[in-house]
Symmetry: C2
Subunit: 251 residues, 2 copies
């Protein structure tokens, strides 16, 4: 004789409505995912549901989708509570809440990831590239017919993930070029993957964008006011900061 031993957490739980396996309590009772969805959809419906056998259907895993009338009847019989179905108003309220929370997270991330370009001093006679100029350069990129949607101020640049969103609509070839460029950037060759990510995240993104633009337009001026020539990047690990220099930018 073998004792039937099972730990509580491993116990297979059975949907009280249809006998399928369930994972959690839904609307007050242990049910499967499908009966959960079913009850949410029909539990509040006033409309009378039709039964093919005058209310005599047996509900199990195979027959549960055949008769909504008998399935719903069984749901109520085994104790599912329609009061636990959220109202439209509550759903709307919760959607707003999620929206607000996301915005909070976003602003917090943006603040943590921004670079203060005002702290970067000139170096070697090369002009410091201000984020304002970057933004202006990027705004000029409409000639490539894609939406970058960059809103940068002098002291704050949106985080890399968000910038990269703008690339999703680009053609594959251009994205590939950008990725290759990020691999071959100055300062990228001798550092590990995590540091590369940090570079991308904290500043080299701008370098990547400018170089990619330059490569893509094959040295042709963006318009009469711009002439991209060359640039270089320095990563200051002590200050956890990226310095971006750009030579010969006229505007």
């Amino acid at each position: 004789m073998v004792a039937h031993i099972m730990s509580y957490t491993n116990m297979v739980k059975i949907c009280v409505v249809c006998g399928d396996k369930g994972r959690a309590r839904n609307f007050g009772v242990f049910t499967c995912e499908s009966c959960k969805s079913f009850f949410r959809r029909y539990g509040l419906k006033e409309q009378r549901l039709i039964c093919p056998s005058n209310g005599k259907c047996d509900i199990n895993v195979m027959t549960r989708r055949m008769c909504r009338n008998c399935r719903l009847k069984k749901c109520f019989a085994v104790g599912l509570k329609k009061e636990l179905i959220r109202s439209d108003e509550e759903n709307d309220y919760r959607k707003e809440l999620i929206k607000e929370n996301k915005l909070k997270h976003k602003l917090s991330d943006e603040y943590n990831n921004c670079i203060d370009f005002s702290t970067i001093s000139d170096y070697n006679g090369i002009n410091q590239l201000e984020s304002k100029r970057i933004a202006e350069l990027l705004n000029a990129s409409v000639i490539f017919n894609y939406p970058l949607n960059i809103n940068a101020s002098i002291h704050r640049i949106k985080n890399f993930d968000e910038m990269f969103l703008g690339f999703r609509d680009l053609n594959d070839e251009f994205v590939k070029q950008i990725i290759n460029f990020s691999k071959s950037l100055n300062g990228f060759n001798n550092i590990c993957a995590d540091d590369k990510y940090a570079l991308m995240r904290y500043g080299a993104r701008d370098q990547v964008l400018i170089r990619s633009l330059k490569y893509y337009i094959k040295e042709i001026n963006v318009d009469n006011n711009y002439a991209l020539q060359s640039s270089s990047t320095q990563f200051d690990s002590n200050n956890n900061c990226i310095y971006i220099y750009c030579k010969d930018i006229y505007y």
Copy 2:
């Protein structure tokens, strides 16, 4: 008291399975379209179908989709015959038959719409354009990257509709140009719409194609053997025939 009078042809016919309105006899019995499809889908299935009420379902318009078991049972009960469901082999055979018939029609149409270019004499020192040359020119059109699929012999050119099929895969701009060209062709300005259609159908199609090609490639040679220069069209209404002339075609 009102007599209930109905002509036979206006009589509403009822699906014997579910009571929905039907239009015709299917698999031997008057049924609706949905029961027809249902029987075709399940009539030959060996697999046992499940019933939620142990075979006691009532089948009507509302409940017919709830229990396949009882619906199929009723289909057989009212006399639908599964022998009338075509086997896969018969379906394949019929597909082949349809294909062959279409080909026959096509060849017949082609014969009826062809022009005998051998009856067209030289005119004014301009070389007569043989359909063979047209075909060769069109075969050279692969540089535009579309399938024209023209197979013309000296005495026979495929009908216009079929040629036009080849244009479906073209870009809109090119199609628009072709249409505009057909409007402005020699001999098209002083005739009515029906005659224009006749012209297109019986001969000017070639003219249109050549002119469009010429326009599209902007006088650039198709390859070293071809140099399109100019051409003109004359419509002979007495003989219901189109004359196509083309100057300076080298090959």
